[in-house]
């Protein structure tokens, strides 16, 4: 188990059963803090696979923080990173507004996309650069401080 980092974007980082588990805070600093932990965990990857993984991570985390969370809330994103046979699997869980990236409208081309909408460009990157993409809408429940995710998004990047 690794220590918690004193970075504003990262609530905790630990390795459990060979999987990296991150808890990211509701701040865009989470993107860079989380990325550093993932790079450290995975070590050297093929340049293209590394870039695809970082694009997916950036787009999914920023979309959740910008569009799924309330500003300045104590919400968090739980990310699990694991190596599989020929692929890296990332699992994102959050308690923000329900959002299914597999059903999102993907513009046919950028010429028709509205750049004022962040998702207009992020979603095609998520859909096209992942080797698999799955979404589960969960039923949040319970009380107190325990984390109850509403969204679970699972993406894989071939290595």
């Amino acid at each position: 188990m690794e220590e918690c980092r004193d970075h504003t974007g990262l609530r905790s980082a630990e390795i459990v059963d060979g999987k990296l588990k991150l808890v990211l805070n509701n701040t865009l600093a989470a993107v860079e803090d989380g990325r550093i932990e993932i790079v450290r965990f995975l070590g050297t990857l093929d340049d293209m696979a590394q870039n695809r993984l970082e694009v997916l991570f950036e787009e999914l985390v920023t979309n959740t923080i910008r569009h799924g969370f309330s500003t300045n809330s104590d919400q968090s994103i739980h990310v699990q990173v694991e190596r599989g046979a020929g692929a890296i699997k990332l699992t994102f869980e959050d308690d923000g507004i329900a959002f299914n990236p597999t059903l999102a409208n993907v513009p046919m081309s950028l010429a028709s996309a509205d750049p004022s909408r962040l998702g207009g460009m992020g979603i095609p990157l998520i859909v096209k650069l992942s080797s698999s993409l799955r979404y589960e809408n969960l039923s949040p429940g319970g009380d107190g401080d325990e984390f109850h995710p509403r969204n679970r998004t699972i993406v894989s990047v071939a290595t």
């Binding site: 860079e32 340049d47 694009v55 992020g122």
Partner: protein
């Protein structure tokens, strides 16, 4: 993220260095637009030292291209690494902003 600009005759040249991610765009977006749009000149952007490109960077490039277009100017990119090139191809960015292999080719694209 760093940015430098210079002039090649009547063409403005911008050199971007670093990651065009959310944090990088926050650092340079205002300066990038201010270095290109007010002058209204054709512009080439060297992205050979851009190590990462995601949607925020794409949005910055498109917004600036559209603003410059309203003043009659054009932008071309050049020198993308294979990883950045894959992102550009994935979203068909070249439908809006041409991508060249070299500076000379990029200058030819904005001059044409």
């Amino acid at each position: 993220m760093e940015m430098q600009h210079s002039d090649l005759g009547n063409v403005r040249k911008i050199v971007l260095t670093g990651r065009l991610d959310t944090a990088g765009v926050d650092l340079i977006e205002t300066r990038f637009g201010a270095s290109i749009v007010p002058a209204g000149r054709n512009t080439v952007v060297d992205i050979s030292h851009v190590t990462f490109l995601a949607s925020m960077g794409i949005r910055m490039l498109i917004a600036t291209t559209r603003s410059l277009s309203r003043k009659g100017g054009k932008i071309a990119l050049y020198g993308a690494t294979p990883a950045v090139r894959e992102v550009i191809d994935t979203v068909a960015l070249t439908d809006i902003i041409p991508l060249a292999d070299s500076e000379d080719e990029a200058i030819g694209l904005v001059a044409g």
